[in-house]
Symmetry: C2
Subunit: 343 residues, 2 copies
Amino acid sequence: MIIDCHGHYTTEPADLKRFRQEQTKAAQNKTAPPLRASLKMSDDEIRDSLECAQLKLQRERGTDLTIFSPRASGMGHHIGDESVSLEWSQICNDLIHRVCALYPQNFIGVCQLPQSPGVPPKNSAAELTRCVTELGFVGCNLNPDPSGGYFNAPPMTDKSWFPLYEKMIELDVPCMIHVSGCCNPAMHTTGSYYLNADTMVFMQVILSDLFKNFPKLKFIIPHGGGAVPFHWGRFRGLAQDMKLPDLRAHLLKNIFFDTCVYHLPGQELLARVIPVDNILFASEMIGAVRGIDPETGHHFDDTKRYIEQLSLSTEDKAKIYEGNARQVYGRLSAQLDKQFAAA
Amino acid sequence: MIIDCHGHYTTEPADLKRFRQEQTKAAQNKTAPPLRASLKMSDDEIRDSLECAQLKLQRERGTDLTIFSPRASGMGHHIGDESVSLEWSQICNDLIHRVCALYPQNFIGVCQLPQSPGVPPKNSAAELTRCVTELGFVGCNLNPDPSGGYFNAPPMTDKSWFPLYEKMIELDVPCMIHVSGCCNPAMHTTGSYYLNADTMVFMQVILSDLFKNFPKLKFIIPHGGGAVPFHWGRFRGLAQDMKLPDLRAHLLKNIFFDTCVYHLPGQELLARVIPVDNILFASEMIGAVRGIDPETGHHFDDTKRYIEQLSLSTEDKAKIYEGNARQVYGRLSAQLDKQFAAA
């Protein structure tokens, strides 16, 4: 089985966009928000939005299952206040749940959280619990910078995050570290902001005892870990200079990297410096980069093609494709059984 | 000749630190600043600070010349106002000039600029001009985020930067993109902040016509280009999706990457995806990472050892070691002749 652990619903029905625009405008102007009941998204529309997109690419590329969450750039935690963020998160998560119900063999849910700048992360625990216990989700996306580009939240090793981590551990779900759309004109959402947040969080945890205090906490750092594998020597050296443990012992029981790296040399580096047990297959397809690489004739984000070319054993590739995801997402296998039974 | 294009004076005489501490405290408390005349740094102290450090490593590692600038993390553009930044920059640049006068065959100067948050970059043109025309410097370090970690300056493609770029072109000097010490608790100066600024600026220029408008402008992106080479496919794909020219044509006449990447796999990736004409040898020695890699038995930052292992021709290595630096730093060869004649 080939599990793509990083997919966002980027082809949502049009009325969702209309609702969000009205909700955003109402939050900015402090006028009445649109009614949730006004949202019109039929099952047929959802099917249409996926059949020619994610599902088509799953079939073409030979992947089986996508761990699927709301559009990351759309989370927009900096828009409006906590109540706006909560309503928007519930709507987006419910929509992912409908996708998983329509295609239980193709998608399994991960939620966005109702984070908001300056609001304690623990306030997201209720929505996380709802998504996991009621909707069958297996993880969450956790935003280290709800400001949308100014990096003014406490580091993810600050104790304000701990109650949410306790809930994640209780529910046996990991988080993917993922910022949302960037409103800072100095940074580009998918070109620099995403990667910079990934690198930032990795360094935050190097400097902390986070995983000593929370040995069951699991972070997936997407986009191949930002700049981390390319600078693996730098991070190893920084840790050593600070008399910290070797990074494998210090972090790699708890930190995992996905394979959203859109060229073969990058994938080769990733597989060379990061232990195979810490790599999870992912493509973030229909995401940041949608075109075909003229050098290969294939989509930049068809990451399976790169993995296929790596000189790894079949067993190691199976870990990257499936085994590691089943380990990291503790609820995945049971939820899959449930969804397959429902299919 | 082996030219290390990225060295900072990180072993300065102790009194410089005392002065800066007093200057910082005075700026914070709005009290009288220390007198510049109070600074006591003898030639012998400067010699001592280098003989057992940069010069020793140059000899041991077999490099010849370091393009040398003030300590990057010490620039501290967010400390005090523009006048504080100017005095500090002048002091630091004058000190680099003394180093180059004492060791004209080993060091050539690059200046820090008196940037300050919210102050137009053009205000740095006078100090740049002084350093180049009076002190014989061949480049400058340009900080894309004078806030020290909040990324709230306009992108480097904003027209507010243009007068400074015009001055750089007039003087025939490139800049190295380099932030300073991070005062944002979410980011670590050398672990994430430096790399993130590098990646941010690369993406800023992708989105612009900067080098069409300033074809003679040259940026050196240090630390191997941050996350850029590891995500080269992502950047190529983003540019293509936006109907921008191929990155080689769009940027690589003007953008250069240094080799401050502290492990062999990273160096191999850099040399594989970035054209050899765009790579400049550098180590940033006695910088971010000072220890010995137990896996190799050599210093992490002894980057020459990695370059030696790359499967590149002697001609290509000579470009990385020397030829490219002479091209990018337009005044380098003439200034070197002058300094060698003075030796």
